[in-house]
């Protein structure tokens, strides 16, 4: 693809049960600002069924055009082929998606198909001298990289919570239905979809997360984390040691090998702050840490650090919240 005719930003917006995920909407708002500054457009791509309502939400978030492609189950090869075809047709200069499992699955392949580069875990995008510059963590977030992509289009998977979503009801946009015939490209066939998790844990979209780590001590004490989360209308998170001790199911894991989160408020209870955990939550708006070891690395990144016994502090906090809420 030549540089000269490539313009506009294409955003793949992932949907679950016909609803667009916040990650995609946040990117649309950011893409809208980047595109508007260049006098270009944002093209959202939604794949699934019954997406008319989702398309309108995408327009409110910043899409000028929404392309709807009807497909049932997620199949990596189908989604990848659809995005590649649409990129070839619409010739964007930038393709973005949220860095969910699905986004990280298909974007590298799209980039490979188009012989271009793909940045992942992007925390910031700036437009500098006509190039998009992507800020990404490496070495588990210990250092950051600024990357540019020479190929066209640039492809990037964005970390959840990197950008703020703004929904503007008055915005208008065009909805386009595209037929993309790619069925015969499928070689990895989905034979079954199993909903094995008893509950859906939506850490990526949570505004408040209360997480517990090894310092909670035992399964019984970990219930305090759950109670506090309930009291602040938050979601329960956990570190890998807490998951491995089976205090809480794996779907709650925050960190490098779990979910990457960016709530407004993150309360870390009995978490020492290993890089693997911190890299998954450092994007949080306000971080409160409770730990009895004053040298714990979690205090380096916390906005408020409480050096104290988590098993004593948390019940008092729960009580306080309940007291005020009952007024």
């Amino acid at each position: 693809m030549s540089h000269s005719d490539a313009k506009n930003i294409m955003v793949y917006v992932e949907t679950v049960s016909d609803t667009p995920l916040n990650g995609g909407l946040e990117i649309l708002t950011k893409a809208h600002k980047l595109a508007a500054a260049r006098g270009e457009e944002v093209i959202a791509v939604l794949i699934g069924s019954n997406l008319e309502h989702a398309a309108n939400t995408a327009i409110m978030a910043g899409a000028d055009k929404v392309i709807l492609v009807t497909k049932d189950n997620y199949e990596m090869e189908v989604y990848e082929a659809i995005l590649t075809r649409l990129a070839e047709k619409y010739k964007p200069s930038l393709i973005l998606s949220a860095g969910t499992l699905v986004g990280k699955d298909i974007l590298p392949l799209v980039a490979g198909n188009l012989t271009t580069g793909c940045a992942v875990d992007v925390m910031e995008i700036t437009d500098k001298d006509g190039n998009f510059v992507f800020t990404c963590p490496v070495y588990g977030g210990t250092v950051l990289n600024d990357l540019v992509i020479k190929g066209t289009p640039a492809v990037a998977a964005v970390r959840s919570g990197a950008f703020e979503k703004e929904l503007v009801v008055e915005r208008t946009g065009e909805i386009i239905k595209e037929q993309v015939g790619v069925e015969n490209t499928v070689r990895a066939k989905i034979v079954e979809v199993v909903n094995e998790m008893a509950e859906t844990v939506n850490l990526e979209e949570a505004q408040v997360i209360v997480s517990g780590g090894r310092g909670m001590g035992n399964k019984e004490n970990f219930r305090l984390v759950e109670e506090l989360a309930l009291a602040c209308h938050g979601v329960v998170g956990a570190t890998r040691p807490a998951i491995e001790a089976e205090w809480v199911p794996r779907s709650h894991q925050v960190g490098q090998s779990g979910k990457i989160v960016a709530p407004k408020l993150y309360i870390a209870c009995g978490i020492s702050g290993a890089t693997q955990h911190v890299s998954g939550m450092i994007g949080s708006g306000y971080i409160v840490a409770v730990n009895k070891d004053e040298d714990a690395p979690i205090f380096d990144i916390a906005d408020v650090g409480i050096v104290g016994d988590v098993v004593k502090v948390v019940p008092l906090l729960i009580e306080e919240i309940k007291k005020i809420q009952s007024l």
Binding site: V16, L101, V143, N195, Q256, L265, A302, D303, E319
Partner: protein, 262 residues
């Protein structure tokens, strides 16, 4: 069954710092190890071999010292090892790395199954495996958490998705990127280590590749370029409170309320 596992040598620790003056990455010593996620891929390969027979080969790319991780794979039970090593491969991003590995794999012959770990602990991109599959025109499945069924002509695996698990059936030859905990990796065996002490590791350079165009390798073949590397911002507005008791809980609640979180 011919199985190939892609492995990488990574720094032993994530404790890296940026020199504030030169902007160059200071690595904490030169200690390195096998990318932990690759151990799961090797284990998966060995388990399949134990059931079906055949052989397990490993491939890596990097400087000569990366032979270390191939030797480690030998002491776990891998049969042959190949290292792609050439100064012209240096500075490669995801695209150039996956291209080089794909070229290397092509020159090594046909494999029924290629296995990769889900990601490395240094670059963290989780892209190289799927892109190798694209270059080799093979079907691939990522986030594989378990193997359901193993048949003559294909394999059925569980693929982890955010809220569900998809069961995917894929025919050989194919590539799988396996998640951690698919199987518990075995420890290297001392006996195997001694046995394989003198086993030769095949070294391939650009001259052994079908595509001899230098521009497709290393820094030249990399559309992604690092402009700058820098440490994340530290939080200097932090507050530390000591003790535990009613007052502290109240103070925290006030703070959280002041910021309108609850």
């Amino acid at each position: 069954m011919k199985i190939l596992v892609c492995i990488k040598q990574v720094p032993d620790s994530n404790k890296v710092e940026v020199d504030p003056v030169t902007g160059v990455l200071k690595r904490d010593g030169a200690a390195s190890k096998m990318n932990p996620y690759d151990l799961y891929a090797i284990e998966t390969a060995l388990r399949i071999k134990e059931k079906t027979g055949g052989m397990v080969d490993v491939i890596s790319m990097g400087p000569p010292q990366a032979m270390q991780v191939i030797k480690e794979a030998f002491s776990m039970g891998a049969d042959h090892g190949t290292l792609l090593s050439d100064r012209r491969f240096g500075g490669a991003d995801v695209l150039a790395t996956s291209y080089t590995l794909a070229q290397g794999i092509k020159s090594m012959g046909e494999y029924d199954l290629i296995l990769c770990g889900k990601q490395t602990t240094d670059g963290d991109t989780a892209q190289v495996g799927p892109e190798i599959a694209e270059w080799l025109n093979l079907p691939s499945v990522s986030n594989v958490v378990s193997i359901r069924m193993f048949e003559e002509d294909g394999i059925t695996v569980d693929m982890d998705l955010p809220d569900e698990v998809e069961v995917a059936k894929v025919k050989f030859p194919c590539l799988l990127a396996v998640d951690k905990d698919i199987f518990q990796p075995r420890l290297p065996s001392y006996v195997k280590k001694t046995e394989t002490k003198d086993r030769k590791i095949q070294i391939l350079t650009l001259d052994d590749m079908t595509d001899q165009d230098e521009l497709n390798y290393g820094l030249n073949g990399s559309p992604t370029q690092v402009q700058k590397i820098f440490p994340p911002e530290t939080n200097d507005k932090k507050e530390i409170w000591n003790g535990s008791g009613d007052m502290l809980a109240k103070k925290l609640f006030d703070k959280v309320e002041e910021l309108k979180f609850v």
